[in-house]
Amino acid sequence: MRHFERFDFKIIFDIIEQGSKVLDLGCGDGELLRILTEHKSVRGVGIENDEKMIYACVSKGVTVEHGDIDEGLPDFPDKFFDYVILNFTLQETKKPKKVIHEALRVGEKVIVSFPNFAYYPVRFYLGILGKTPRTKALPYHWDETPNLHYFTIKDFIEFCERENIKIVFYKAFTEHRLIKFLPNFFAEKAVFLLKGA
């Protein structure tokens, strides 16, 4: 068994089949793509908006394109990729709905992960302390967070129903533990595997 520093990486790693074509939207420093390329021989491309992250990707030899995913993915034909990954990216986009639909257009399957805004310490911050939550998954002050949207596991499931998106499965987790009991309360983060209807 490979050791993963990040549990989200492990979940995504287990989903993706050997040799898949993968698009990582908001790929950051390219670490996930590097792991997938090295150990799963994927044909991977990343898109990243932060110029500094591009330099980090290039240092690692990760193929990356400097671009803004909020502008859509007009450069890609339908179903070009086996998997499109939005790993902790969606909450930072301006138009999450548009981004998800674009991801579903260019990919057979879409992997989405995000911090769960209904995680109980988050509820504590907001409900008891009356403050904007600051947790491991949401580490920023309100005035400098890159997150534009806050949503919960429940929200996301409802969204998928509303938008006619099929949830193949989802895994909720805190640290390195899967949370099966009341995930919308006890899980810090979640990874969803989606398919277009």
């Binding site: 290039v58 030899g61 671009g67």
Partner: protein, 386 residues
């Protein structure tokens, strides 16, 4: 050692590559895209670093409109530093401790390669306007002859900015199996009407100078005014609104108040005048006509054909654009990236933020150095199976 020191004092330029020398290679004939044949053809070139035994470490650098073969080091002839000294040398992005770097002057040029100022063997006089029109493809075909002459089968990398970038793209198109990595910078798949328009104004400035004399001015006169104006127009397009504001503002040169006349009194006017005047001392007016024409003719193909042509090509690309480049704006680089992605070619793209305009790729910047260094390092390690 003493001589070197004296030279250094004379020229005042230093380079870790020391002194470099332009070499020449002449071959029999080159059939041009127009159907005409250029014969004989001489290519001026320089090399830096050492070609390894497997001959898999060669990098070809392609120059822009007014560049030449002297890309790095201090020229033995002129004492000047190469035009891409910032990028080429030991430990630099194009690391001459590791790679064998080649740069050649394009045909149609005036820096040693056959061009309109060369002697036509049929008449014993300079070609002038009887020189055949050359294209980017012709330039690349001539370079391919040089590469063959150097007994190099495959180039580890072809790199260049602006017109150099067009040559990079043309190399991959014409010789897809001979290029392992490609770095087109601040360039385009095809010249646009706006870009053609700027070039045409430059050409008209030269051709309407009475000293141009239909191109037969050699040994008699020189259309210095026309060429200077052409260069001034060029320079405006190489800068950006912001870089001009930063560099010149509305400052006046050596005076406090307006002269209420038509002398060049603004800093920016003085600068352009200076650029024009120094340029005419080093560049041939007819070459300016021929090379700009070659650039205007450049159209690698329509996107559909390009995708077919490049489909599944193993060449790895690094495409770079500059945020304030309005002559070859980032959208044109993204177009290259789009075509390559559709063709499933491995392409990395970065738009470097810089207040400089088109010329940014010639100015020292850590971002470009970082991208090229790591891109080449990773690709070379892969090639070597590390």
């Amino acid at each position: 050692m003493v001589i070197e020191l004296v030279k250094e004092e004379v020229f005042g330029e230093k380079s870790p590559l020391g002194y470099t020398e332009t070499k020449f290679f002449t071959f029999d004939a080159l059939e041009l895209e127009s159907g005409e044949v250029l014969s004989p053809v001489t290519i001026a070139y320089e090399t830096y670093g050492t070609l390894n035994e497997k001959k898999d470490n060669a990098i070809l650098i392609c120059h822009a409109l007014t560049g030449d073969a002297h890309a790095a080091g201090v020229s033995k002839e002129t004492g000047k530093l190469g035009w891409w000294e910032i990028m080429i040398g030991p430990g630099k992005a194009f690391d001459t401790d590791k790679y064998f770097v080649i740069c050649s002057n394009v045909i149609g040029g005036c820096k040693g390669s056959t061009g309109p100022s060369s002697i036509n063997p049929k008449t014993g006089k300079p070609y002038g306007m009887s020189f055949p029109v050359v294209t980017i493809k012709d330039m690349v075909n001539a370079q391919a002859k040089l590469i063959e002459h150097l007994r190099i089968e495959r180039l580890f990398c072809v790199a260049g900015g602006s017109m150099g970038g067009m040559q990079v793209l043309q190399w991959v198109y014409s010789y897809p199996n001979k290029v392992i990595t490609a770095i087109p910078i601040a360039t385009t798949l095809r010249h646009t009407p706006l870009q053609i328009a700027f070039n045409e104004v430059g050409r008209r400035a030269i051709m309407s100078d009475p000293e141009w004399m239909g191109g037969d001015y050699y040994g008699q006169s020189f259309p210095a005014n026309g060429l200077a104006v052409a260069r001034m127009i060029g320079h405006i397009t190489y800068m950006s609104d912001l870089s001009m504001k930063e560099k010149f503002g509305r400052k006046l040169r050596n005076k406090e108040k307006y002269g209420y006349d038509f002398e060049a009194e603004f800093e920016v006017e003085q600068y352009l005048k200076y650029r024009g005047e120094t340029f005419v001392q080093r560049f041939d007016a007819n070459s300016y006509l021929y090379i700009t024409k070659a650039i205007d003719y450049f159209n690698l193909g329509d996107n559909k054909d390009l995708i077919k042509r490049f489909y599944n090509l193993p060449t790895k690309f690094l495409v770079i654009s500059y945020s304030h480049d309005w002559l070859y704006p980032p959208y044109q680089s993204r177009e290259i990236v789009k075509v390559l992605k559709y063709a499933w070619v491995d392409v990395t793209y970065c738009e470097i933020s810089s207040t400089y305009g088109h010329d940014a790729f010639l100015i020292k910047n850590a971002e470009q150095e970082h991208l090229v260094t790591h891109f080449l390092n990773n690709a070379y390690a892969k090639l070597k199976g590390e």
